[in-house]
């Protein structure tokens, strides 16, 4: 029983835990409060979307998890560790807004980049590249250079790169923002399948309400000036989500709540 309780406790260690988190940028025009008093817990296996207008701090929050920005107040832990320790332990894979592939490397060499840096052997590299390229349906494009691929395929390659070293946490910063809607729909359903297969915890920044509702188990609504969390919505949609789930009343109810949350943050009025 004691053993069970211990196991239970370990299982419940949140992947991301933020308490009263704040981040203020010092600029020449004075201080900009990018994040203010953010409290959030993300558990293992969750798919969490961050949604809000530009300037609400959703990308900043993701970058803080990744130790690309340092919080100025409050507490943030990743797997119970500081973001820096977690980064050095290669606890997460990060997918940026742009694919950021290195143009002088073939797709397989791009996917192998983190493996090279982390010191995997040649055999391990080849095996992991093959597996992750298969996971994002890019098999057959190993020897191509980035410019030979479409935007959607490039972004899939960058997802493969983030998955290649098997971190349990995947941070995605508007990964499909630059793609057209048809490609985006396709990649969204692919991403859900991938999440289901890999059992990873995913943090996903977006500014699209349907995308957030379609993908997430939890939706974090944020608003700007100062950047803060205005609502956290637990989605009760089934795990199996065909694309036409977006026309169901359940889906529309959640979407309406997200929209209300955004409106409550005065984001529309201020944006105009």
């Amino acid at each position: 029983m004691v053993f069970d309780a211990f196991e239970q406790g370990r299982f419940m260690t949140p992947v991301v835990s933020a308490q009263n988190l704040g981040l203020t940028f010092k600029t020449n025009d004075g201080d900009v409060v990018a994040l203010s008093d953010v409290n959030l817990t993300i558990n293992k296996g969750e798919f969490v979307s961050f949604i809000g207008p530009s300037g609400c701090g959703k990308t900043t929050f993701l970058r803080t998890i990744a130790d690309l920005e340092r919080p100025t107040s409050g507490k943030l832990t990743i797997n119970g560790q500081t973001p820096e320790v977690a980064r050095k332990a290669r606890a997460y894979g990060y997918v940026f807004q742009a694919p950021a592939l290195y143009p002088w490397r073939t797709i397989e060499k791009n996917v192998a980049l983190p493996l090279e840096i982390m010191g995997y052997g040649a055999g391990q590299q080849a095996e992991r590249v093959r597996r992750t390229m298969d996971l994002v349906n890019l098999s057959g494009f190993e020897k191509k250079y980035p410019w030979q691929l479409s935007g959607g395929m490039q972004q899939r390659a960058s997802i493969a790169r983030a998955l290649s070293f098997d971190a349990d946490l995947l941070l995605m910063d508007e990964p499909f923002g630059a793609l057209d809607e048809i490609v985006r729909d396709h990649l969204n359903s692919e991403l859900l399948k991938l999440w289901d297969r890999t059992q990873k915890t995913i943090c996903f920044v977006t500014h699209s309400i349907p995308e957030a509702v379609y993908l997430s188990t939890k939706i974090v609504v944020m608003s700007p000036r100062p950047g803060r969390v205005t609502d956290v919505i637990e989605s009760d949609l089934p795990k199996e989500r065909p694309l036409d789930i977006r026309e169901t009343p359940e889906f529309l109810t959640i979407a309406a709540r997200v929209r209300d949350g955004l409106r409550a943050g005065h984001s529309y009025e201020e944006a105009v």
């Binding site: 742009a98 290195y102 143009p103 002088w104 840096i117 250079y145």
Partner: protein, 298 residues
């Protein structure tokens, strides 16, 4: 298909040939005009009157020391001073060309190495970034003609003569475009490409070799093309300070002392051809590297 390709090659080479022919026509015409006064004097002294224009033109293209030598005279001199002479002869342009080429190449290698090293230092060290750049720019505001004799004579007085002092002048000129280009090149990676390295906890060494260095390749070759051309200029200028050492610069100098315009033009042509070939070699190396790096064909 073949006719289309044939037509395409004509449209490519056609204009080049036309321009080349036009330049030759202008050159020959100018030679007549510029050499005419001296030819008239000669003809008057020789008691020749009423020389027909065609004969007169041929005379102006065949003077010993013309103001402007005709192209065939220059080419003839180049032939006589290279193929028709032994390589070891002090009058051989191949001999002098080799002297210039060797100090150009040594200076270029030294200059490129120094330039890359300085750029790496500047990119990785904020203090170097702020303090070194003004000195590097100041170094290029000093006329090379003033520095070259000091270096050549100074090093000569401590027993260092020959290629090395001349190469140092070439280096002095050629490191500059490489520093400026490589600082820009090594800083060219976008912030998300650098962030990516940070998320992998990559060492500065890994970030350099896997990101900054390959990203800087286009700038490296662009600045090496400038570098190798001014390296040749540096070599020629340095030769002016030591006439006994030989080199194309010396041929230019002695030619102008003796009024040997044909000799000057021949040395000039060799220098220009050398520079063109060197730049082409750098360009070929660039294309090879581009192909290996999977660059999109232009």
């Amino acid at each position: 298909m073949d006719t289309v390709r044939g037509a395409k090659s004509v449209t490519r080479t056609g204009p080049i040939i036309v321009v080349l022919l036009a330049m030759l026509v202008v050159w020959y015409a100018a030679a007549i005009g510029m050499n005419a006064p001296w030819q008239t004097t000669l003809n008057t002294r020789a008691g020749l009157a009423d020389v027909p224009f065609t004969d007169f033109a041929l005379q102006t293209w065949a003077q010993d020391r013309p103001v402007l030598p005709a192209p065939h005279q220059v080419l003839g001199e180049i032939w006589n001073a290279t193929v028709a002479l032994e390589l070891t002869s002090r009058r051989s342009l191949a001999y002098h060309g080799w002297i210039t080429l060797s100090s150009t190449l040594l200076g270029f290698v030294l200059g490129t190495t120094l330039g890359v090293a300085l750029a790496v230092f500047i990119v990785h060290n904020e203090a170097a970034n702020r303090s070194l750049m003004p000195w590097i720019i100041a170094s290029q505001t000093i006329p090379i003609l003033a520095i070259a004799p000091m270096v050549v004579v100074g090093l000569g007085s401590v027993g260092i003569t020959g290629t090395v002092p001349r190469a140092l002048i070439s280096m002095y000129l050629s490191f500059f475009p490489v520093v400026v280009g490589m600082v820009k090149g090594l800083r060219s990676p976008e912030s998300i490409q650098l962030d990516l390295m940070h998320t992998y906890d990559a060492s500065p060494w890994q970030t350099f070799w896997k990101l900054r260095w390959p990203a800087a390749m286009p700038m490296l070759f662009a600045s090496m093309k400038v570098g190798i051309a001014i390296s040749l200029v540096g070599a020629v200028v340095s030769e002016l300070s030591n006439a006994a050492g030989g080199g194309l610069g010396v041929r230019l100098l002695t030619g102008s002392y003796n009024g040997q315009t044909i000799q000057i033009w021949a040395a000039l042509f060799i220098a220009a051809a050398l520079a063109a070939i060197l730049v082409m070699i750098v360009g070929a190396a660039e294309r090879m590297v581009n192909a290996r790096m999977g660059a999109r064909p232009a």
